[in-house]
Assembly symmetry: C2
Homo-oligomer: 388 residues x 2
């Protein structure tokens, strides 16, 4: 990736480093290497506050350049820094929330005269507002995501299972260019490509903070499709991630086998109405918690409070930042007094789980503009009846 894109990203991190007198960052984790170097390597970006970044690389062996230094192990970094005339840092940051305890300590020991602090919040904060190119990547990804979702009705065959349906959606997404890997922040959430949840399977509580869980096929991955046949009167919620270029677009649409009870259409419409209401008021400066509370009040009023964001086990958010990972900042949840900022990209996902029917609702990806939010994922929003 070209310097005109990487420099502003690195400088967003540097601004926050300067506020804490941190004079260097050592970046090792994949998403942060993509962010600061443009691709994954087995190595480290060493980024001083006041001079250009250097890449210390183990693999692959075909990357060369002025600021690229092949190494076998990170312990070689300080002596190379001295050789190229860079002072060792007084205060360095490492990715404390992502590196293992063992690896963090190993890297910290390399800089044994420096104060070592966590840089995880700084990098997450920097990443929470996107550059023009990042937003452009979202736009292009969202177009492909939409193109894939438009083909979903064509894959339905009477008698198929939720799993077979999911597999055909996954295939369409892959053919449209989805890279596969679905990146999440934190060690817990392991998600294949996303989820397809039909009927009451949406009610099975998840080990994760999800509105909908799904039993999954095996206790080693207890989420998602369960392998049962799709049945008349069930809703099918498709929430497959759109990683077309590293940036994850998030979009959910609902399909039905035959007609659903009236209640389902009412609940679905309530989610769309809530989404539109949020879109009317969201803009830079609006507080995340206020949007969350608005959603809760709206759904109480509409009579769906008990079923909103899950039934029996409810998720405690209605939206979240998206980027290289599916769960970036900000989180639209209780007690989060963070304000929306221009160039944030977020997913809003009001969803309702109705016993005996399944999940309804909507999810789209949005970019926060100067005075509003703009929808990126354009695809029909009503419940689409599947026909063989």
């Amino acid at each position: 990736m070209l310097q005109p894109e990487l420099k502003p990203r690195r400088d967003k991190i540097r601004v926050l480093m300067a506020q804490q007198d941190i004079d260097a960052a050592l970046i090792a984790c994949n998403v942060n290497l993509i962010y600061t170097y443009g691709r994954i390597v087995n190595g480290y970006i060493y980024m001083p506050l006041h001079s250009p970044a250097h890449l210390f690389i183990k693999r692959p062996n075909n990357i060369k350049g002025e600021h690229v230094h092949p190494i076998r192990k990170p312990e070689q970094i300080p002596s190379i820094l001295k050789e190229i005339g860079l002072e060792l840092p007084n205060k360095i940051m490492l990715e404390a929330d992502e590196l293992s305890f063992t690896e963090y300590n190993r890297l910290a020991a390399i800089f044994d005269n420096a104060e070592v602090v966590s840089g995880s919040s700084i990098i997450r904060t920097a990443r929470s507002t996107k550059t023009r190119m990042e937003i452009e990547k979202f736009r292009r990804g969202a177009e492909k995501h939409t193109k894939a979702y438009e083909q979903i009705p064509s894959i339905y065959k009477k008698g198929m299972t939720d799993l077979e349906f999911s597999i055909e959606v996954e295939r369409i997404m892959r053919l449209e260019g989805v890279l596969g890997i679905f990146r999440t922040y934190g060690r817990e959430m392991e998600i294949f490509m996303g989820s397809v949840l039909a009927g009451d399977n949406a009610m099975v509580p998840s080990p994760y903070d999800f509105a909908l869980g799904g039993a999954g096929l095996d206790p080693s991955i207890p989420i998602g499709a369960s392998g049962r046949p799709l049945k008349e009167g069930q809703s099918i919620m498709v929430d497959i991630g759109g990683n077309f270029n590293g940036y994850l677009t998030d979009m959910t649409r609902v399909f039905s086998v035959g007609k659903l009870p009236d209640e389902a259409y009412a609940a679905h419409q309530a989610c769309i109405d809530l989404q539109n209401k949020i879109a009317d008021i969201a803009k830079p400066g609006v507080i995340c918690e206020d949007l969350y509370q608005l959603a809760i009040d709206f759904m109480q009023e509409a009579g769906f409070g008990k079923y909103f964001m899950g039934y029996e086990q409810q998720a405690r958010f209605i939206g979240h930042g998206i980027g290289l990972e599916i769960n970036e900042l900000p989180v639209i949840c209780p007690r989060n007094r963070q304000a929306l900022e221009q160039d944030m990209v977020i997913a809003l996902e009001p969803k309702i789980v109705l016993p005996k029917i399944g999940a309804v609702g909507i999810e789209n990806s949005w970019v926060v503009t100067g005075d509003s939010i703009e929808k990126l994922t354009h695809c029909k929003e009503e419940i689409i009846e599947l026909k063989d």
Copy 2:
């Protein structure tokens, strides 16, 4: 999962704990929860050396039982332990190689009167020999893996790209029951379902310690298929992981578009001959490094040394343990004096990368028996020519 399966697993860990005077383990990471509890939860297994394990669980909210304690946060654990009459540990182990620095410190602080040590090696070692049920899971997975691979020739269409071919293999694997998630040890390797590498794309060096890399589709995931059309005279190496039940079977087979040059068949046969030679001598007590050195010597002798396990960037192993993760112990690599043990399950993967042709070679999953090793993945081993 039933106690008759879990108890022996936990006891394998306890034996190693006792050797280091560790009187409790707190287990938080997904694979180790699957291993010690049988499924993924958001919570912790607290396992004393001399009394039954307890589950402290945040989510899902529908798991109940005698030794199950709902919590909101891990800081509640010590007071619950006291309530149920368990002494707090003097020396506790945490997953230092898997937990983030931040999370490790948070959990360590909960047991502030205890010595806190790393339990990662202990658990990896315990997991490196499998129980009867784990081996049975491998057998069942291997059968499905074979059944899926046998269908591969049927998906080929003239003019398709390596990516389209990969997507159809992925679909077949999913339809045969692959769960999707491909688990690796360590934070670095991010693999979708495995790889399909055609022609010179196999030569592109990887950021990981792989014999074959592949350019991939995007610098955010620089491995695997590249989207180029399959061409006459290319080999196609299919190495898609077999996670059918949590346990990852590993199998590689080679296909060709048209006929390959004679050299390719000779190289492929050399890999099969080497595999069979290793199978003849491998048994409990055989040292990993010795198998590695045998492989290197064999390929030097055969004239393929320069192309063995990669060209220009060579991987430094010829096999590895498999289990809940694709890269378990032991590693069959230089300087590893570890011996094979009965009930280990390993993948052996002699592979050769030939410029202008692509990758050839073989990979199978094997269980170490009392006096030999037994192949689990039975599928024709010769190069299969694809026909439209």
